[in-house]
Symmetry: C2
Subunit: 189 residues, 2 copies
DNA sequence: AGGCCCATGTAATCTGTTACATGATTCC
DNA sequence: GGAATCATGTAACAGATTACATGGGCCT
């Protein structure tokens, strides 16, 4: 039941609509959790029913109306309690790693192509995260912002996302290079 | 349907029983995928039914009998095909990140404690992965092993696992330090 | 005219987790 | 004597993904 808490955490600083939340939880941005729009709309309905968030309708003329949600006191308390319970460690679950595990038994060309593609994707996220970090800290240095900034939670999670994608990029490039070199060696044997 | 392929990839090099697989996919070891024993037994049954693996009974007197599974030609072909399809990027999904996202609104002491605990856990995995890597490459250097070793797939995925846990450890320590310093600052204000 | 963005959902299916069940052997 | 390890599952439930549905406005 952690999506529940992820949504609460996302709504802490700002009122958001389901649609805006969906963008924040999308693969392109999600720096601390990932979920699809359908899950989010369902979760928002449940959270509202349970009184942990409240929604207010915002009428728009040029676009469809939307509902903005904010966390209630009960929601805050729920998050507080969640934080107090032990977290189980997260683990990797990645299609690409499965393919690399089988690297010695499958088509190397395909694998190298996919590693290159993933490295590019990771690079894109790295640049996005760097922009986000810069926006959050404004003109301060990171050091100063982390000491004196008002809201550092999102900054810290974004730092983790950044390091994760740097890890992905570096590992993809290294693995692709290794596989390429072995291809060349085999030909030369 | 990637658990299916993760199991096939794990069985590529060696015959394993459900129990042995379960240990390999456990949180403590899993370097490229994670799954519980129940999932694995179910998946093995399905894979065997579909002819992608075959099992053979091994009778033991001092321990319960076990079934060892190996990948069939059809299983290999399935993996090959899986490798050819595009992989969707993996994303982070971690309770601890959710808590840090809410760092500015929840009990800081609790959070610091959990970050410290996670850092210790990560350190344990780092040491485990380092031992595993050393075992796999034997007396060769990493460079030499990756160029000329026979089976490098598991080595590469283990490298990713290692980097991931180093990232976890470093981030946990950094975040805990930041939160601790802010606590101190607040008291001193 | 075609495609993307805003905005919200329902329904069916697939995957993953939690709880439960059994029973012998080895280690402390 | 009690805990951990070996060894294999079933059943119920929770969570996530895929497919489908709707409809106006904006951009090229």
């Amino acid at each position: 039941m952690a999506l529940r808490h992820a949504v609460l955490a996302a709504l802490l600083g700002e009122e958001l609509s389901g649609y805006q939340l969906a963008k924040a939880f999308d693969v392109g941005v999600a720096n601390f959790w990932h979920a699809l729009p359908q899950q989010l709309y369902a979760e928002l309905a449940r959270l509202e029913k349970d009184g942990l968030i409240t929604g207010r309708e915002v009428v728009q003329d040029t676009r469809p109306n939307k509902r903005l949600f904010q966390v209630t006191d009960a929601g805050s308390a729920e998050l507080e309690q969640f934080t107090a319970t032990a977290a189980k460690p997260s683990s990797i679950r990645d299609d690409l790693l499965v393919k690399v595990q089988a690297a010695d038994h499958v088509d190397t060309g395909q694998l190298i192509a996919q590693l290159a593609e993933r490295a590019t994707f990771a690079q894109g996220k790295i640049e996005l995260f760097e922009r986000l970090l810069h926006t959050m800290r404004g003109d301060s240095t990171e050091e100063h912002f982390l000491r004196h900034g008002e809201r550092i939670g999102p900054y810290l999670t974004c730092l983790r996302g950044l390091a994760f994608e740097q890890g992905n990029r570096d590992w993809c490039e290294r693995s692709a290079a290794v596989l390429r070199e072995r291809q060349a060696t085999r030909v030369g044997d």
